[in-house]
């Protein structure tokens, strides 16, 4: 059985004719060619496939593509600028050596983006709890937590600067 599904991914609309059982992550990776999102377990534990659906981090391996019609989906490919310049979170991951093999990284980035959008002033412990949603086998997590913490501080500082600027 084939079903017509319309998806909005990174601001672009796609029409797909797919089996209803096709998962969101398979559609993103293999039908749309967005291979930045990875598959680590296919049972919702490792979080390598984390993407944002209407701003919230979700496991793309646990959703059928057909379930997210009409939603705004964001993947790791949306983070860097079109010229390839990394965003602040990506830069923080690099500076803190928050990635080694890079396989869990897209999931970690999207998890952090979703979290920081919801909670711009997290404590380190809150960050650690959120990072515990996903698995990383290389880093021991410390540098991932530090990278997210640093990014949150930088965003707060930038926001404050903006406020100060607008007051003048």
């Amino acid at each position: 059985m084939i079903q017509l599904v319309e998806l909005t991914v990174n601001g672009e609309r796609h029409e797909l004719a797919i089996e209803p059982r096709r998962t969101l992550v398979d559609v993103l990776r293999h039908d749309l060619g967005l291979t930045g999102t990875h598959v680590g377990c296919e049972h919702g534990i490792c979080g390598a496939c984390t993407v944002l659906v209407d701003g919230a981090p979700v496991r793309a391996c646990l959703l059928f593509a057909a379930q997210v019609e009409g939603a705004e989906i964001r993947t790791v490919e949306s983070l860097a600028a079109p010229d390839g310049t990394l965003n602040d979170l990506q830069q923080c991951f690099s500076e803190h050596h928050g990635l080694q093999c890079g396989f869990c990284t897209p999931g970690m980035l999207m998890l952090a983006e979703g979290f920081l959008a919801e909670e711009p002033e997290p404590t380190t412990e809150e960050i650690r709890e959120v990072v515990a949603s996903n698995l990383c086998r290389c880093t021991g997590y410390q540098t991932i937590v530090e990278a997210i913490d640093d990014c949150a501080s930088r965003r707060r500082a930038a926001f404050q600067q903006q406020l100060d600027g607008s007051r003048v």
Binding site: C101, P106, G140, I144
Partner: protein, 785 residues
Amino acid sequence: MVEPHFRRDGAWVGASVPRREDPRLLAGRGRFVDDITLPGMLHAQFVRSTEAHAELLAVDLDEVRTVPGVVAAYTADDLDLGDITALLDRPPHEFVPTAMPVLARGKVRYVGEPIAIVVAKDPYAAEDGVEAAVVEYAPLQPVVSDTAALAEGAPLVHAEAPRNTLVDVSLFATEGIDDVFAEAHTVVEVRTKTGRQNALPLETRGVVADWDDRDEQLRVQTCSQVPHQVRTVLAKCVGLDEKQVRVTVPDMGGGFGQKCVVGREEIAAAAVALRLRRPVKWIEDRRDALTAAFLAREQRYVVRAAFSADGEILGLDADVVCDMGAYSCYPFTAGIEPLMASAEMPGVYRVPAYRVRGRAVTTNKAPTAPYRGVSRPQYVMVVERVFEKAARALGMDAVELRRRNLITVFPYKGVNNITYDPGSYLESLDLCEKTLRDEGWFSRRDDENGGDRVIGIGFACFSERTGYGSGAFAQRKMQVVPGFDISEITMDLNGTVSVTTGTLSHGQSHETTMAQIVADRLGIAYDRVKIVQGDTDRITYGWGSFASRSITIGGSAVAAASVKLGDQLREIAAHLLAGDPEAAVLEDGGVRVGDRWMSFADIADVAYLKAHLLPKDVGPGLSAIASFDVGGDGTFSNATHGCVVELDPGTGGVEILRYVCVEDCGVAIHPQVVEGQARGGIAQGIAGALFEEVRYDDGGQPLAPSFMEYKVPTAMEIPDVRIEHLETPCAFTENGAKGAGEGGTIGAPAAVLNAVNDALRHTGVELDDTPIPRESIFRALEVAR
């Protein structure tokens, strides 16, 4: 270009420069095996055994072939491939060769063993196809533990291996060792069983294979730490010449040893691609990765140690049995774990008398491969437990007892016939203890006003042989002897260089660290250096990355090749500038001869485009090749780990409050990368100590087929790690570097286990097996009460 302020003393080596790998991996532009799609590609999955041990009576794939989307399905008989066989040059009483068929033939030996391969137009259809297979078994009694394997009259996993023993070596046996034990003031014994673990790269194994009709070559893109070994085995299994097989490795999502052996699935998928002349992809799903991939670490130790009254260790007598599962892995064989443990066990201590028996037994469980640290996490844990027990028996402080016995004069020739190069064994212990003391952990431990919760502190001292050269591996008597590395460097018209390495980075950052090494040798920025790896058509035979060998051996080879190219550049420049080649120096991306300077690009312009201007005895082009092998016994990195835990006796819960690692890997090429390796390794060691175990029921059915049962620790369980560096440069690697990949994993189980036992000091409970999850601590405490 990177700002020079990142450089240490003007050198790239020693500076934590931005990783070259990061931009693509962070932007989702990496290319992992499953990211590769070829036109007309088929998808493979495997019919796998549901029995641990059985005669294979019939495999019926007729129904499979009728499933919509399925293109073909094959058994072992259909494909008729050669076996994967790894050998040791040892007599039959020490080593029994066994073959691992690519697909099971006649018999299955573990749950998950591949029996047939199904290829379909999409992965969903391939799984549908697998479900339609009908396999008829005649079950045999499974052998599911090392003790069952060695029991009198046990069923045989391999008919050719009596008592299910694949390797049985007795080594060293210092003369008079029995007298040493008979006359010793104190003898302590440690009995330990360590759990079976999965190395668990987050990217499961996988391959894309296709036949290139134009080049008449089977192209295999696979996530392997050892591409040349995959080529050799694949060529042999399918009956092609080596040149007809090209193995390349794209980005790889971790390996940790699981991918440093040749997998049967990658051979089967490639064989089907060859047969159908169509691309075939196989991606292992997590259930198969947890149950049917290569596992590791299940070992049993009985170790006795003799001490004098004043705490001098006099002898070590060890019996090691490693449960290697159903097959010997290529190229290392089932000897990998027992031979490592037997050769290295005395470790950092001055042990005058040593005897060891090391055995590999075969059981009806998924086969094993080397996993980060290979036996060293286990024997270090055992030896460190020895020191804790001896300290208690002698009424001494355990740290002081270690101090008294550590090797302090180098080079030190051990009782195990290994020469240890200089390290900072004592200094690392002193600094680790001091750090924890200065942070106040000892007073918190002794304060004990914290209510029910008890603090425990544990240490682990160890060294780790890194950079095993051909000579060291030959001592293991492997028939295929890894060791050297070859590097080829080429400069292009822009004056930038490409450098090949036979090692294979997959998280270790070699694209950055090896570029730093080359940059220093040539006097150019590290972003002018491209590292080429993982392509058997472009790289002379290489051994890949494992055993912390890449920077010690591969890094030395790229340095040697760079020096050769530098000599060429100096010679050409001196000729063109009419100066003395001896006075020519590499500087700022060019060559200075006296007061004149010529850029590499200008030299390259001559070398390639105006070759008639070259000196008479210099050929055209700019390239050089060099190899490196570590002579002697290799170089030893060392570290001391200190772990502070808090135990809740009411629940058995253990929380790690502090972790300190004082490490010495010689010259750190990139300190941040070294710290990353240590932290990641420690996390895996903690995982083995407290959380992860691949368990089976009595019938050999795996009990942890998903992440719900196989408990991989998260950011909530893994603590922050304070790392302190000591630097004892290696005298015989090109950069003074020693290996840094495995140490974290090696020290952590011992440090954690000692800390837990320290926290149990008032209970009479002592735990020597791993893992020690909350439940087993709780149960042990209940029994004691």
